[in-house]
């Protein structure tokens, strides 16, 4: 079947969105490809569709369980039942069942850890694989904002010369990250498809405030006079809870969301936000991936994100419906220091590296060595990976490089918040793009028209009378 027919019959779209067709044609032709599509611009279709014109299974490697589930749900909505997701959340029996029946599936989702297991690799080798997909491929690069040492191990997997094509997907990636993706995943002259990340419907604001107290006051005032739905990104779980509590007191329909909450609770909060029961979410960067809500009108950052990519991705969750959306970053002097502390906490210094290495050589257990050299879990995994292939001096050199990259990214963010010129221009410059926006641009251009943001309705307080019989009746008739 022609890809155009599949697009209509299976997915119900009349036309491709920009860039999709190019990527799909290359994959179908057996070429490797890298697709850089901003969030919400139809990245998933790039691998979903070719699956139906090619023989064999599509193996998707996805770093986050939440993302994996989201992709699975999405395919199910398109009436695809031949899907399996294998990750560490499965019980041993479930995993065995899935692995034993692997050949039945069209889409096989794997976490990086699963892919690294020899048994799993052997099973995959026996399959007829149409092509591989590496989702969130920027995680493979220490230049990316989401570096995952697990991902680096995939290097070995794609080494063979006769392997199926690989499609690397990511929402944002600088040139350097694309180089890393290409070399680590051993891509063979990949087709690179990049869609612009600029979103003209989003206007940018940076506000300099004295301290956190001033930020809190600003947010309270802002939420009382402007509309949601919106997300407030904060630096920590604790702060998310704190701020949500303050806002609740003011009668705002808000909840906090972060990785420390139990899964049921997170599902409920997501659902309430999507349904509109909650107008605001105070979240850490754990919130966002896999949320399908097109009408988010505001994104407020109470803290400074670590990289321009992270910022662009978080802001990009607003205004998916194409209507106007407002991004506001609240900045105070000490934020840079705080950010450096958080970012460099996971990066070992020279002394720690040497000490950790000496401990490991004397046969001390990994967890003990981690603790004794004062490393975080992430830092230890990073070192483990590097020590497998480099000697001590080169590991130190590698880590120093990462340090420099992160420092540069933070400097980029600092230049962004201190910019006296167009904010959009500045942000896009980090990705080699230029701005074409001439109105409703940013607080530096001073051409923002905010009338649409003004709240005109008064918040109705939700009735608090709870009646269990009535509730059951409403649920089940």
């Amino acid at each position: 079947m022609d890809i155009q027919d599949v697009l209509q019959q299976r997915f119900g779209y009349v036309a491709f969105r920009p860039g999709q067709e190019e990527v799909i044609r290359h994959i179908v032709a057996g070429r490797d490809a890298v697709a850089i599509f901003p969030t919400g611009m139809g990245k998933s279709l790039c691998y979903q569709l070719p699956a139906y014109v090619m023989d064999g299974a599509v193996v998707v490697i996805s770093p986050l369980v939440a993302l994996m589930e989201d992709q699975v749900a999405n395919l199910r909505n398109h009436k695809e039942k031949r899907i399996v997701a294998i990750n560490s959340f499965l019980s041993r029996q479930e995993k065995e069942l899935a692995l034993n029946t692997l050949h039945q599936y069209k889409f096989i989702f794997l976490s990086p850890e699963m892919l690294m297991q020899t048994a799993v690799q052997q099973l995959i080798e026996q399959l007829n694989v149409a092509f591989y997909v590496v989702d969130e491929a920027h995680c493979i690069s220490e230049w990316g904002f989401d570096f995952r040492p697990d991902y680096l191990r995939m290097k070995e997997i794609f080494a063979g010369s006769k392997r199926a094509p690989v499609l690397a997907l990511t929402a944002t990636a600088s040139e350097k990250v694309i180089e890393d993706i290409t070399s680590y995943l051993q891509l063979n002259q990949p087709h690179i498809e990049r869609q612009p990340i600029d979103r003209p419907s989003i206007s940018y604001r940076v506000l300099h405030l004295e301290n956190q107290l001033a930020k809190t006051d600003w947010i309270i005032e802002r939420l009382s006079v402007t509309i949601g739905p919106g997300i407030i990104y904060v630096a920590s779980r604790k702060r998310a809870d704190e701020l949500a509590a303050v806002l609740q007191e003011k009668g705002i329909r808000v909840a906090s969301y972060h990785g420390g909450k139990e899964q049921d609770e997170r599902s409920i909060i997501q659902e309430q936000f999507v349904q509109g029961d909650l107008e605001w979410i105070c979240a850490t960067n754990a919130f966002g991936m896999g949320i399908h809500k097109d009408d988010i009108r505001q994104i407020i950052h109470e803290h400074l994100p670590a990289t321009p990519s992270a910022y662009v991705q978080e802001v990009g969750r607003a205004g998916r419906d194409g209507e106007k959306a407002a991004a506001t970053l609240l900045y105070s002097e000490r934020d840079i220091q705080k950010l450096k502390f958080i970012v460099f906490e996971d990066l070992p210094d020279e002394q720690q590296i040497r000490y950790y290495h000496s401990l490991m050589q004397t046969g001390v257990s990994g967890s003990l060595a981690t603790e004794q050299s004062g490393l975080t879990e992430v830092a230890a995994r990073l070192l483990d990976y590097y020590f497998e292939q480099f000697d001590e001096e080169n590991v130190i050199r590698q880590i120093r490089q990462i340090f420099q990259v992160k420092e540069r990214q933070i400097a980029d963010m600092e230049r962004f918040v201190r910019s006296e010129d167009c904010l959009r221009e500045k942000l896009l410059s980090y990705f080699g793009e230029k701005s074409a926006t001439t109105f409703d641009c940013c607080s530096q251009c001073q051409n923002i028209a905010d009338e649409w943001l003004v709240r005109t309705t008064v918040e109705q307080k939700r009735s608090t009378k709870l009646d269990w019989k009535e509730r059951l009746h409403q649920l089940l008739g």
Partner: protein
């Protein structure tokens, strides 16, 4: 406050014979000989495995708070409930049944939540929705459950509704618990409340709401277990009760006992210490109704030890060992589990 009341109840039952750590292990559901014996000896089975995720830090803070408020005191590691503490245990008796469920209750309520959500959507003609339960095995269970039904969706929703009303009305729940349970369910246009939202609406702390919820699940599951006229909800509860109370290792030892091996033989067969096999025997004694006590202790020995227990008002092994030097610690442990009554 509610959590503190649970701790006080437990420390009271242990009346000055165990450290704070012992209670921590019980709440976390540790499967070690000592913990399993403690729950047996001090009637603490209902509290077993109530909070599998309880953190050391969180627990320590609660203990510090109990001490600071003068509700307990600790001497030589052992916890005593003070008079003030006893006055603070005003709560009506807890009706947990942790021993039987050990987390299975959460499985049940997840299935229930997804079933109700699915029925709520499908009966209004909406076949597409974001499932409130993301875990694959829950989704598969509910799918299988729904596939087995032969009546229409409307009828099925009606029947589940009827069963739920019956359970909530007749099981011995408080009104608060009925409310919490029903508001943790999701449907069309009605998303479940978060813990905070329920807490606010009921004007009660979040942890209390969560604990009452947990207790209500045990009460509901016990109720379902005892009644036959609620087939639908009953089949959602399948497998949520513990079927085999023994640890895997103890289970292996049990099979060898059945085949007639002595404990010394089992120890050498399994290449384990004798004391480990003795732990297994104690675990079996606590959980298997037909444990062959007579192979290890005599009726006279049982009587003698229980006289001491009654006289000294303690089950502490060290104290009992001083009075009954001829018995091993293993025998003493068995006798405590055996209980006072001597048949035959």
């Amino acid at each position: 406050m509610v959590f503190i009341s649970i701790l006080l109840t437990m420390f009271q039952r242990l009346h000055g014979e165990r450290s704070a750590q012992g209670v921590y292990h019980i709440l976390r559901g540790k499967r070690s000989g000592q913990t399993l014996q403690d729950v047996e000896n001090y009637q603490l089975k209902p509290f077993y495995s109530l909070f599998p995720n309880l953190s050391t830090d969180g627990y320590r803070r609660q203990i510090e708070r109990l001490i600071a408020e003068g509700l307990i005191r600790i001497e030589n590691q052992v916890v005593y409930v003070t008079d003030k503490g006893r006055k603070n245990m005003l709560h009506a008796p807890w009706r947990f049944n942790g021993w039987e469920y050990r987390g299975g209750e959460r499985e049940f309520v997840k299935r229930l939540a997804l079933t109700v959500q699915t029925l709520s959507y499908i009966r209004t003609g909406q076949t597409m929705f974001a499932p409130i339960q993301k875990e694959l095995h829950i989704q598969q269970f509910v799918k299988e459950f729904l596939r087995r039904q032969t009546v229409s969706v409307d009828e099925l929703a009606k029947r589940v509704h009827k069963e739920l009303v019956q359970i909530l009305s007749e099981a011995n729940l408080t009104d608060l618990q009925r409310t919490i349970l029903s508001y943790r369910l999701t449907g069309v246009q009605l998303t479940a409340y978060t813990w905070e939202q329920i807490a606010e609406a009921l004007n009660s702390p979040v942890t209390s709401v969560q604990i009452y919820f947990l207790e209500s699940l045990h009460i509901v599951l016990d109720f379902i277990e005892e009644h036959e006229d609620m087939p639908l909800v009953k089949s959602l509860a399948v497998g949520c009760r513990v079927e085999n109370y023994l640890t895997q290792s103890a289970e292996r030892s049990r099979k060898l006992v059945q085949q007639g091996y002595s404990i010394e033989q089992i120890a050498s067969l399994r290449n384990l210490k004798l004391s480990t096999i003795e732990d297994h025997m104690v675990e079996m004694a606590a959980n298997v109704k037909t444990f062959p006590y007579e192979e290890f202790v005599t009726a006279e020995q049982i009587q003698k030890v229980w006289q001491q227990i009654d006289r000294l008002q303690t089950k502490r092994l060290r104290v009992l060992k001083e009075r009954c030097a001829e018995l091993s610690y293993f025998q003493l442990r068995l006798i405590i589990i055996h209980g006072k009554r001597v048949d035959s």
